[in-house]
């Protein structure tokens, strides 16, 4: 068989009706087979509880996992302000879910707890862990570390940060009928299947390199022994007050801070400043280490679309010729904001590479979990921003 995927998208106004419509549409595509798992991405403009009720009305007791997202990625392309429901029916893949709460208190513990729950109830060969975390609370790198403690350092972890109505607003994570905030939910995929992963960003360093001279967890205190915020004040000729008044997030999404990964590579992982403390410290959405070389990063539409092709090529290579059954794609919200009307081009470029009829499950995330850019598919996964991560599955 033995994996069938149904996709339903709804933009109906009524949250319950939209959830029900999307679920019904997805359900009708799995040819009356028993659903194994429901993956859903719901726009934060919807009443989350009503939307989940609508989905559950159709999918009943089928395990459900997902998160809030400003847009879905599917075979229908890129859709903002929608409810996307993906129903997987499979007798070759086993799905086991887990949840970790209180990310803001201890991101690492929450990540660990979710992965442990999923791992404990899994059967068969563990292949890949799909994780959705709160992006506005806690430290995403720590959440990942926690999950790696439970699953293994080089275990393939994919997924990303959920997105809300605003960068400070709540984001939602779903597990079955529960709608959580400040949490991480995950699903472990086990079975006799092959997994190929690829990730690329396309954001390039601009300006001279700088050094993080003082940092703690996800807070940069000093850069080049100067107050951290000065890097944005200098490059954007904006005052501290202007930047503090929420502008920093807007700028940070388009011009993030890139951490140079290793001396011999040209790869960077990016971090987005969420806010500026009164003393000028930059609070990032994930951790950063002291003494690391950093640069301001800039994105370009063409390079970003090229990077999507690059990520798809890496994932295909990693499958080593095995036929692609389905794909899970996460693209950073910054890419959608950069590409705007051309957002479909990124999806088209990926579909062109993996096959236009390959079922696609995905959404726009605020940060992505994936293997390191320069490494192969079995290298340690990292939390990155501004990237597109593509995971291909073959039975």
């Amino acid at each position: 068989m033995a994996t069938v995927i149904g996709t339903g998208i709804s933009t109906k106004l009524n949250s319950f009706a939209a959830g029900k419509e999307a679920a019904l549409s997805a359900y009708s595509q799995i040819e009356k087979k028993d659903p194994s798992i429901v993956i859903t991405f719901i726009s934060p403009i919807y009443d989350q509880r009503e939307a989940i009720k609508g989905i559950k009305y159709i999918t009943k007791d089928t395990p459900l996992i997902g998160c809030s997202s400003i847009g879905s990625i599917s075979n229908y392309g890129s859709r903002a302000d929608s409810i996307a429901v993906f129903i997987i029916s499979s007798n070759s893949i086993a799905f086991s879910c887990g949840i970790g709460r209180n990310v803001s208190k201890s991101s690492r513990s929450a990540g660990h707890e979710a992965a442990k729950q999923a791992s404990n109830s899994s059967h068969g060969i563990k292949q890949s862990y799909l994780m959705f975390s709160s992006s506005t609370s806690g430290n995403s790198s720590d959440i990942l570390r926690g999950s790696q403690e439970a699953l293994g350092t080089v275990f393939p972890v994919i997924g990303g940060g959920s997105s809300g109505r605003s960068y400070v607003g709540k984001t939602y994570q779903y597990i079955n009928s529960e709608i959580e905030t400040d949490s991480v939910t995950g699903v472990l995929l086990s079975g006799d299947l092959k997994v190929g992963m690829g990730q690329a960003s396309g954001w390039q360093p601009i300006g001279k390199p700088h050094k993080v001279t003082k940092a703690k967890y996800n807070i940069i205190k000093e850069i080049d022994k100067r107050i951290a915020v000065e890097i944005y004040e200098d490059y954007f000729e904006k005052s501290f007050e202007e930047l503090k008044n929420k502008k920093i997030f807007d700028l940070g999404l388009s011009y993030p801070i890139g951490e140079h990964m290793a001396d011999k590579t040209t790869d960077y992982i990016t971090r987005v400043p969420l806010k500026i403390e009164d003393n000028g410290e930059l609070v990032l959405n994930a951790g950063i280490e002291e003494e690391k070389d950093i640069s301001l990063m800039i994105g370009d539409k063409d390079i970003v679309i090229e990077s999507a092709k690059e990520a798809a090529a890496k994932a295909i290579d990693a499958l080593r010729g095995a036929p692609i059954k389905f794909a899970i794609i996460f693209s950073d919200i910054s890419r959608m904001l950069l590409l705007r009307r051309d957002a479909y081009k990124e999806i088209d470029a990926i579909k062109e590479a993996i096959g236009k009829k390959t079922p696609v499950i995905g959404c726009y995330t605020f940060g992505e979990y994936a293997p390191s850019i320069s490494g192969d598919d079995r290298s340690q996964c990292l939390f990155n921003n501004h990237s597109v991560s593509i995971t291909l599955f073959s039975e």
Binding site: I45, D81, S166, E237, K247, R340
Partner: protein, 489 residues
């Protein structure tokens, strides 16, 4: 000692040379480092320019994207909107896909109620009925209307703005992250507003949206105006239609009344005629018996009176028969007895009957036939009455030595007969009354000539019973031509 001095001098010399070279090398490295640093700083400065340009380009690109999408979407709406005069239909076109295409997720179109002056929601997207109620209550309570109706500029608000006051408070009222509004103007007066916004921070309303929103508001304003005009026009049209219908109903009612009256008249005539005919037959019978002398000798003076009784009785019987026939035909009691008849035979028979009068007045009677057949289907007795009436009238009203012509023409499925005389003609004022019962023209000759005034009325009824038509042309002093047409079969 000398050697010691020499070695010391040499060492100092070498050290000095080494120091000199090291100093030169260091100075070189420093110069190089400084140069490199300058280049890096220069590149960094260029990076700042690139970032600045990139920011500006992104802004322009975003604005351009929004405008292209907006214009395309408005163009599509314009095409649809031009075919509707109904504001509800237009508002129906501004639906969720339309709003999403413009880059928004929320929409409110509110208009001021003419009577109460309160804002009421005409269209909304992504708001529940409960939310709408709450928003209406809030906007009307706080008198936001003045603010939202501002004609000079759009209202653009997002949470990042450093503004305080009512505009900013609207964000909470509307449960929204950013919005932009434009007033809807009708005849230079603001009557409402359109508001679009986003519940998510990722699609903020920007100043570039104002132009599109103004165009949209203007389209809605025009549609409202058009709807009003159309409604007024439609109302007038409906009123006119109602008046016409009302008048038609009145006419139908009158017509029905007339028909009833006519029937009553016919019934009355029929009844009276029957009542008259019975005693008249007796009178006529007794007069005949008296004239025979069987009941005693009849003096010449008595005979003369009895003959007058008989003659007038005959006239009365004829009159009554005609009246009865008209009544019967009108009421449908008499069916035409359709038979094949020979036109020639029928006309010969009639001219024979009228021969004495024709001869007496020395009138020339001609039959002009253009037909190649002779037989038609008609009621022979009734058609004879038609010709008899028309020809006797023609002879009666034609002076001596005049002419009477009969024309017969083939008209496809019909046959057309005309009886034309060179008589006195019919005065124009009498023309509409010619076929009315008991009508007699108001001229001296007509007064002299005896008649009941029922002949032409009967003729018309007989022709109509044959599914035909009759009409005439007349010129006073020159003559009259009666024409009738009936189906051949």
């Amino acid at each position: 000692m000398d050697i010691y001095i020499l070695v010391s001098a040499l060492t100092i010399g070498i050290l000095f040379i080494l120091y000199y070279f090291e100093r030169t090398r260091r100075m070189g490295t420093e110069r190089l480092n400084k140069r490199l640093q300058d280049i890096i700083d220069q590149l960094d400065s260029q990076a700042k320019i690139i970032i600045k340009t990139d920011l500006a380009l992104n802004r322009v690109q975003e604005e351009l994207d929004r405008k292209i999408t907006g214009l395309y979407t408005l163009h599509e709406l314009g095409k649809e909107a031009s075919s509707t005069f109904n504001i509800e239909n237009l508002l129906g076109l501004i639906n969720q896909p339309f709003v999403l295409k413009l880059g928004f997720s929320k929409l409110l179109i509110m208009l001021k109620d003419e009577a109460s002056g309160m804002l009421t929601t005409k269209s909304s997207i992504s708001y529940s009925p409960d939310e709408i109620k709450k928003i209406e209550l809030e906007l009307n309570k706080k008198q936001f209307a003045g603010l939202l109706f501002k004609k000079e500029r759009p209202i653009l608000v997002n949470r990042e703005m450093e503004i305080a006051g009512e505009e900013y408070n609207l964000l909470n009222t509307l449960n929204i992250e950013s919005f932009i509004t434009a007033p809807i103007i009708v005849k230079d007066e603001p009557v409402g507003f359109i508001l679009m916004g986003n519940a998510s921070i990722y699609g903020k309303a920007v100043e570039g949206d104002a132009e599109l929103l103004f165009i949209l508001a203007s389209q809605i304003g025009t549609a409202i105006e058009n709807t009003k005009l159309y409604t007024e026009l439609f109302g007038s049209h409906k009123k006119l239609e109602m008046m016409v219908a009302e008048r038609t109903r009145e006419l139908e009612k009158l017509n029905e009344e007339l028909k009833n009256l006519n029937k009553m008249k016919s019934d009355f005539i029929s009844s009276v005629s029957h009542e008259l005919r019975t005693p008249l037959t007796s009178i006529k019978g007794y007069a005949s018996i008296l004239m025979t002398g069987k009941l005693g000798d009849v003096l010449p003076a008595q005979k003369e009176r009895l003959e007058k009784i008989d003659k007038h009785s005959n006239s009365l019987v004829h009159l009554i028969n005609n009246l009865l026939d008209i009544a019967r035909i009108e009421s449908g009691k008499v069916q035409m007895d359709m038979k094949d008849i020979s036109i020639k035979e029928m006309l010969d028979s009639i001219t024979d009957i009228l021969a004495p009068q024709i001869k007496e007045k020395n009138i020339s009677l001609k039959i002009n036939s253009k037909i190649k057949f002779d037989k038609i289907k008609a009621d022979p007795n009734q058609l004879e009455r038609v010709f008899l009436n028309l020809l006797s009238n023609a002879v009666k009203f034609t002076p001596e030595k005049g002419t009477v012509n009969i024309y017969i023409e083939d008209k496809h499925d019909d046959i057309q007969f005309s009886v034309e005389d060179t008589g006195i003609g019919i005065p124009p004022q009498d023309i509409p009354k010619v076929f009315q019962e008991f009508f007699r023209a108001d001229n001296a000759l007509d007064q002299k000539i005896k008649g009941s005034g029922l002949g032409l009325s009967l003729v018309k009824k007989i022709i109509e019973a044959h599914k035909g038509k009759i009409w005439f042309d007349s010129e006073l002093g020159k003559g009259t031509r009666f024409t009738f047409i009936i189906p051949k079969y």
